[in-house]
């Protein structure tokens, strides 16, 4: 198997505050291969966006990477600063944010924003960059790209804008894309289109994608594998189909059960009692144990379960088992 595009190993992100040190990311590890889409799912505050920010080096002060490694195509990047890190961004790794309206500079045309990115990373003349930009818009499905390249962001609809954002992220041909809630701000009808677009482009180009979202539906649609995060740690990591239908971690199972499914005609939504702990009050041992129906004495003891210490799929001492073996 060839080297994964992205390798995150035991990544820890810390935020020193007046009340103590918080750990929004606490020992997260996963790989993403070329052309693969890894969904990172979890509630707000679970640390999924933080991981993405840490990878691309855009952590807001005072948050910082405290320990662990981030390898991009085998090269460690977690300790790079300044110009070295900047050269990687855009050219080897790109990021897409949630709100396409605020992601684009309202005072510059779409064409200007594209060509400046292209010219920054690729050695092209202005007219060549211009043609590239038009091609990029075309690829993401903007009709009449040659005319619309001189339009301003506010002249596009929400879905179109997100396409422009995708074009911008991909125009310098990076190997990794981190998509942070790319569909959350869009209409439901448009979400599916954007997800399909992202999938197609990344498969075609062999781009690795970290798709961060709180929406299990998007994950089920788009991702190959999924990582479930809870309180800064990984709860479960595995192929999408398996995790969704046969979740082993009680938290994941709870998430699946509480996702409404139209066809099942449920009367009431099942909820997981309680709430995810605040970062300054993470329970000892397994972070989930206070809300877990299956918790036992061992779950309360430190150190808590990790993927490596358990079966590599779910960070749980007593994972849920299923009668039949899942056949792939």
């Amino acid at each position: 198997m060839s080297e994964p595009v992205l390798s995150v190993r035991d990544l820890v992100v810390e935020i020193p505050t007046r009340h103590g040190v918080l750990r929004p990311v606490d020992g997260v590890s996963y790989d993403i291969a070329a052309g693969e889409i890894l969904g990172v799912v979890g509630e707000s505050g679970a640390g999924k966006s933080m991981t993405g920010n840490a990878v691309i080096g855009l952590l807001d002060r005072p948050a910082r990477i405290a320990s662990g490694e981030v390898l991009l195509q085998g090269q460690p990047i977690h300790q790079l600063q300044g110009a070295a890190l900047r050269k990687l961004r855009g050219r080897h790794m790109g990021m897409i944010f949630q709100d396409p309206l605020t992601s684009l500079n309202p005072l510059l045309t779409v064409g200007d924003q594209l060509t400046e990115t292209i010219q920054e990373h690729l050695d092209l003349s202005a007219s060549q960059a211009h043609e590239r930009a038009i091609a990029a818009l075309d690829e993401v499905g903007i009709p009449a790209a040659r005319q619309r390249i001189d339009s301003y962001p506010h002249e596009f609809s929400g879905g179109m804008r997100q396409r422009v954002v995708i074009a911008l992220a991909l125009c310098a041909e990076p190997e990794l894309i981190i998509a942070d809630e790319p569909t959350t701000a869009l209409d439901v009808s448009v979400q599916a289109q954007i997800i399909a677009l992202l999938r197609r482009l990344c498969r075609e180009r062999g781009v690795a994608v970290m798709l961060v979202t709180h929406d299990m539906g998007v994950i089920a649609e788009a991702a190959d594998r999924v990582a479930v995060m809870y309180a800064g740690r990984l709860a479960e990591l595995g192929p999408v189909r398996e995790v969704v239908t046969q979740a082993r971690h009680p938290y994941t199972a709870g998430l699946m059960a509480s996702t409404p499914v139209a066809s099942q005609g449920q009367k009431r939504l099942r909820q997981i009692p309680g709430a995810m702990p605040r970062l300054d009050a993470v329970p000892a041992g397994c972070a989930f144990h206070p809300r877990c129906e299956r918790a036992q004495a061992r779950c309360r003891q430190a150190p808590g379960p990790t993927l490596q210490a358990c079966d590599g799929r779910a960070a749980c001492w007593f994972p849920i088992t299923y009668e039949q073996e899942a056949t792939l």
Partner: protein, 327 residues
């Protein structure tokens, strides 16, 4: 967009009418010119006759209209204090104020924008902290105090610069300028600094705040995520978006330089319209006060209008739907 322009112009005219009304009322309220003119030995017949001659027996509205008409032609009558035509006095003194305002404005803009950008980009450096502290001083101290202190240091103690007046001026017919003589330029330094300092600190703080706000925006993050250079981000992206709201407020501020000139001109005995106005207030010279008020309101209204239209030209979002832009 046309509707917007028409609405703004209508608003401006309303402001002018109201200030005209206030200016006119000053005449009505304060003292009775007829009494002043006729002296002790007068009969009621004399009073009535003079009233008729001056048109003072007409209804209020008619007098008001006449006042506006004359004002539009620049005729404000004679100064109570000097006995000369108010419009002539104003025209004489205007160049002094305008030259001072111009130099102060340049200083305020250049220094303000420059320091603003510097302190926004290098937020934690020593130079930033020093500049911010000095700016706090600039904003807290009343203008006249700054002027006095400058005079104390540079005129009394060091003797480098003059402490009053305009120095030698060159008469160009309808304009007198201090730009062409060394003493004229020297005389400009302290007053320009005094007048411009407050504006400069305001602009600086505004630019700084706006720029820091802009640098937090998502599109800046996205630009960073695309690997654009810091310099490009600061100047091409952030600055452009910063200047858009800054321009409106700055434009309005620069207009008020003319009014704040009153204080500076008093400190330095600068022979401009500001000093003229304050003397008029002290002597209750109503025609001059009224004329100054009208002149200022025309200037302000004009500047406000120009700034609004400028905003349109710069922010592409306004051209489409006419809503006010932000970030």
């Amino acid at each position: 967009m046309l509707a917007y322009i028409i609405r703004r112009v209508a608003q401006s005219i309303l402001v002018l009418l109201v200030t005209g009304f206030v200016a006119f009322s000053m005449f009505s309220f304060v003292g009775d010119p007829v009494e002043n003119m006729l002296g002790q030995e007068r009969t009621q017949a004399d009073v009535d006759r003079l009233r008729g001659q001056l048109g003072l027996d007409q209804p209020f509205v008619v007098q008001y209209a006449k006042f506006l008409q004359q004002a539009a032609q620049g005729n404000f009558g004679l100064s109570y204090r000097q006995g000369r035509e108010v419009s002539a006095i104003l025209a004489e003194r205007l160049p002094a104020t305008l030259e001072l305002a111009f130099v102060s404005g340049l200083l305020a803009l250049g220094g303000g924008i420059g320091f603003g950008i510097l302190t926004a980009i290098r937020r934690r450096g020593i130079s930033s902290n020093v500049i911010m502290t000095l700016s706090l001083v600039g904003v807290s101290l009343p203008t006249f105090l700054i002027g006095i202190l400058l005079i104390y240091v540079f005129s009394v103690e060091l003797g480098w610069l003059p402490s009053f007046g305009r120095g030698e001026v060159v008469d160009l017919g309808w304009w007198t300028t201090g730009f062409l003589t060394l003493s004229g330029l020297k005389a400009l330094v302290l007053p320009a600094i005094t007048l411009g300092l407050y504006q400069m600190t305001l602009i600086m703080r505004l630019v700084r705040t706006e720029m820091m706000e802009v640098l937090r925006m998502d599109y800046i993050r996205f630009a960073r995520a695309r690997g654009l250079r810091e310099r490009s981000i600061n100047f091409r992206h952030a600055l452009r978006n910063t200047l858009v709201p800054v321009i409106t407020i700055t434009g309005l501020q620069l207009g008020s330089i003319i009014a704040f000139a009153i204080i500076t001109e008093t400190v330095f005995q600068w022979p401009g319209v500001g000093l003229l106005f304050i003397n008029a207030v002290q002597f209750v010279d109503i025609p001059v006060m009224a004329a100054y008020l009208m002149m200022i309101s025309v200037m302000f209204v004009g500047i406000n209008l120009i700034v609004d239209l400028l905003y349109f030209a710069i922010d592409p979002r306004l051209r489409v739907d006419g809503k006010a832009g932000g970030h």
